[in-house]
Amino acid sequence: MPALRLLNVTKRFGEVKALDDLTFDVKDREYVCILGSTGSGKTTLLRTIAGIIKPDEGEVFIDSVNAGGIAAEDRNAVYVPQTYALFPHMTVLENVAFGPLAKHISRTAAEEVAKNVLRLVRLDKRADAYPNELSGGMQQRVALARGLASGARLLLLDEPLGALDVRLRLELRTELRRIAKESGLTVIHVTHDQEEAMTIGDRILVLRRGRLQQYGTPYHVYNRPEKIFVANFVGNTNFLEAIVETRTREGSTLTLREGLRIRVLDSSFEPDEAVIVAIREEKTQVTPEPTGEEPNRLSGEIVEVHFLGSHIRYVIKLSNGDEIAARVPLKEARTELKHGDWVSVSFDPVNSHVYEYPMLGLQGELEAN
C-alpha cells in the first residue's frame, strides 16, 4: 500500500503549468527527494500534497484515501516550509508544543510530545532557549521538531537545509534521514542539491517545468539517466554532438565534428541520425601520451585546470574544437599535467549514453531550466 499516490495531477498558474500531469507513488516509510531547479514546480508539488493548493486536474491519495475533499489540517501530512518561522517570544519547547496544544490536548500531554521529538532532533537540552539564542542549524531542527510533533506520518520538507551553511547542511543531511527512519515516517524532501538528494533519498524524482523526468534510486538515476536534462542536472557530464555512422547489435560508431570517430554500446539510433553523446567527467581519462589499447582515444589541448580540493578538473579542447572535461581524484591526478599540454583523452564505451538530438539544440537544451 503506497503512503502517497498522485494520479495525473496538473496545476496551472495563468498560462504556466506548474505541475504537468504528474503520476507517481511513494511507498510507506520511503524517503523520496524531489530534485529540480528554481521554477520546476517542486514547492507547488509539496503544497498540493499538503492540501494547501488544490490541483486543477488529477487526484492525490494519502494512505489510499482520496485526499481531494480533506482539508490541509486534517490530512495525515505536515508541510515544513523553507523559512522556519519560529515564534520568537516562545521557548523551543513552547514552539514545538504549539501544534499539539492547538489540537486541544492538555498542556502536559503536549509538552510530553514536544519533549519526545526534541530528544529525537537532539535538542532536548535546549528546550528552554529562545529561537534567537540558537544557531541556524538548531533553528532548523526546531522547525523539524514542530513538524514531527504534529504526529503526521507523511512529512513534506521544502528545502529543509537550504538556509544553512554548507558545513551544517552536510551534518544535518544524515541526521534527517536517521530521524525519518527511526520514527518510521514517509518523507518527501524537496531540494535543488543533487548530492543532497543522492545521499538521503531512497528514491529521487527529477522534476523539470512541472514534468516528471525520471524517478528511481540514486544509483539508477546517476547511472542510467534517461534524458539529457537528468544527465546534466545529476552529476557532471560532457555532451558532444554526433552523427550515427554505422550500427550493429553490439553498438554503434558515431562521428563527432571534423570526422572524429567513437564507439558506444547504444544501438537504438539509425545511421545518419543526429545524436548527443554523454560521458561523465569522472569517467573521462586523461594521460600525457596514448597508453595503447584504450578505446575511444581522442586528443586535445588542456585549456583550463581547476583545483576542486578532492579532485582536479581538466578542460581539454579536442582537435575538432569540442571541449571535454575530465575530473580526476586528487590522489590519482598526474600533477605534471598543465595548461597548454597536448594530451590523450579516452573513455570506455560502457560509460557513455546516447540521446536523441534535442529540438532546442544542445546548448538550448542545457540552458533551459
Partner: protein, 369 residues
C-alpha cells in the same frame, strides 16, 4: 590593475565585533576569495574595501592611496551584490550601459565598450530582453557586465553566485574567473561555498570570528593547512586524537586508537614523546581494504554506506566509538562494502596532517561560530 591593502581594520556593531583587526594585501591582478562561516566578518571586510561600511579603525589603500574617507563612488571599483539588482524597466543593453550614461558619455561613445562587454559575457542574444525575461544566471551576468563597463579594474564580488541554482553557479564561476583574467582585473570574491573558492582563486583568505585564520593558495590550504580550522572549513576532514610514542626529526610514531601510525610533522617546535596531538585526514585520501595493510592500518567496521554518484561515502567506526568518513571513487570493479562489514583503513603518510591539541579544546577550534 590595482593593489589593495587593508590595515588594522576593526568594525563593531553594538556588542558584536565583526572585524577584529584585519590586515590583508591583495596583489595586482589577483583573484582572491574570502571564505568563512556565517558571521565571520567576510561581508564586513569586502564592504569596508568597497566603502559601503566605514570601519571604526584601520585604513584601506588602493594603489597606495588612502581611500578610507572616500565613498564607494569615488573608489573606482565595480561592486556586485548577492541580491541581483537590475533596473526592471531597462533591457539588458540599457542596464549594462547605465554606468557610462550617468558618467555623461554619449550613446555612440557607450556603444563600443558596452557591446564588447556583452560579447565577452556571451550576452549578445539577450540585449533586448528585460530582467524578468532572464534566467538567474543571465541576470547576474548582466549585473557583472554593468559593474565592469564603467571601466573599473577592481571587481568586488559579494556572494555573486549565492542566489543561483547550484548547476548554474558551477558554470558561471569558471566564466567569472576567465573574465577577470582576460580583462586583467583584480577581483575580491566573498563566498560561503568552499569548492567555488578552491576552484577559481589564486589565493584564499579563511576567516573566523572577525579575524583572518590563514591565507594561501588553494593547494596549500587544502593539502597542507597550518590551522585546524582551515582543514575543517575547506573540504571535509576527519579529526582523530593520538599520542606521540616516538620522534625522529620530523618523523613521528603515534598511537592512534591502539594502532601504530607513522606521520610526518612540520610543526616548529616539533611534538615531543608522550605529547597528545590531533590528526586530520581528508575522507578521499583514506583507502579502505578488506585485509589489514602493512603501514598505517586501522581496523574498522562499516556503519553507513551511501552512493553519491562518482563515489561511495562510508562512515566507519573505529574500536573506541570514533567514527570517520571515507570517500572512495567508484571505478566500477571492486564490489562496494556493506554496512556491518569489517574493513581496514590505510592512512597514507603524505596526506596525514598533524596538529597540536588546541589550547581551548577541539570543539572551540573547530566551531563554526
Amino acid at each position: 590593475m590595482p593593489e589593495i591593502r587593508a590595515s588594522g581594520i576593526r568594525k563593531q556593531y553594538g556588542d558584536i565585533v565583526a572585524l577584529n583587526g584585519v590586515d590583508l594585501t591583495i596583489h595586482d591582478g589577483e583573484y582572491l576569495s574570502i571564505v568563512g562561516p556565517s558571521g565571520c566578518g567576510k561581508t564586513s571586510l569586502i564592504k569596508s574595501i568597497a566603502g559601503v561600511v566605514h570601519p571604526d579603525a584601520g585604513e584601506i589603500f588602493i594603489d597606495e592611496k588612502n581611500v578610507t574617507p572616500l565613498p564607494i563612488e569615488d573608489r573606482g571599483i565595480g561592486y556586485v551584490f548577492q541580491e541581483i539588482a537590475l533596473f526592471p524597466h531597462m533591457n539588458v543593453y540599457d542596464n549594462v550601459s547605465y554606468g557610462l550614461m550617468i558618467r555623461g558619455s554619449s550613446p555612440p561613445e557607450r556603444e563600443g565598450p558596452v557591446e564588447e562587454m556583452l560579447h565577452m559575457m556571451n550576452l549578445d542574444d539577450y540585449v533586448a530582453l528585460y530582467p524578468k525575461e532572464l534566467s538567474g544566471g543571465a541576470k547576474q551576468k548582466t549585473a557583472i557586465s554593468r559593474a565592469l563597463t564603467s571601466g573599473s579594474t577592481l571587481l568586488l564580488l559579494d556572494e555573486p553566485l549565492g542566489a543561483l541554482d547550484l548547476k548554474v553557479r558551477t558554470v558561471l564561476r569558471y566564466e567569472l574567473r576567465r573574465l577577470v583574467k582576460d580583462l586583467g582585473l583584480t577581483a575580491i570574491h566573498v563566498t560561503h561555498d568552499q569548492e567555488e573558492a578552491l576552484s577559481i582563486s589564486d589565493r584564499i583568505v579563511v576567516m573566523k570570528a572577525g579575524k583572518i585564520v590563514e591565507v594561501g593558495t588553494p593547494e596549500q590550504l587544502y593539502m597542507k593547512p597550518k590551522e585546524l580550522f582551515t582543514a575543517k572549513f575547506l573540504g571535509e576532514a576527519n579529526f582523530i586524537g593520538g599520542e606521540v610514542t616516538n620522534v625522529e626529526d620530523s618523523d613521528l610514531t603515534l598511537n592512534v586508537n591502539n594502532s601504530e601510525i607513522l606521520a610526518r610533522c612540520d610543526l616548529v617546535p616539533s611534538l615531543g614523546a608522550n605529547e597528545a596531538c590531533v590528526l586530520a585526514i581528508r575522507p578521499e585520501f583514506i583507502d579502505i581494504y578488506r585485509k589489514p595493510q602493512e603501514e598505517n592500518s586501522i581496523r574498522c567496521e562499516v556503519a553507513e554506506a551511501s552512493f553519491v554518484g562518482d563515489s561511495m561515502r562510508y562512515t566507519v567506526k573505529l574500536g573506541n566509538g570514533v567514527t570517520l568518513l571515507v570517500k572512495i571513487p567508484i571505478s566500477g570493479f571492486e564490489p562496494s562494502l556493506e554496512i556491518g562489514d569489517e574493513a581496514y583503513l590505510s592512512l597514507p603518510i603524505e596526506n596525514l596532517l598533524v596538529f597540536r591539541v588546541p589550547e581551548d579544546g577541539m570543539e572551540k577550534a573547530l566551531s563554526l561560530e
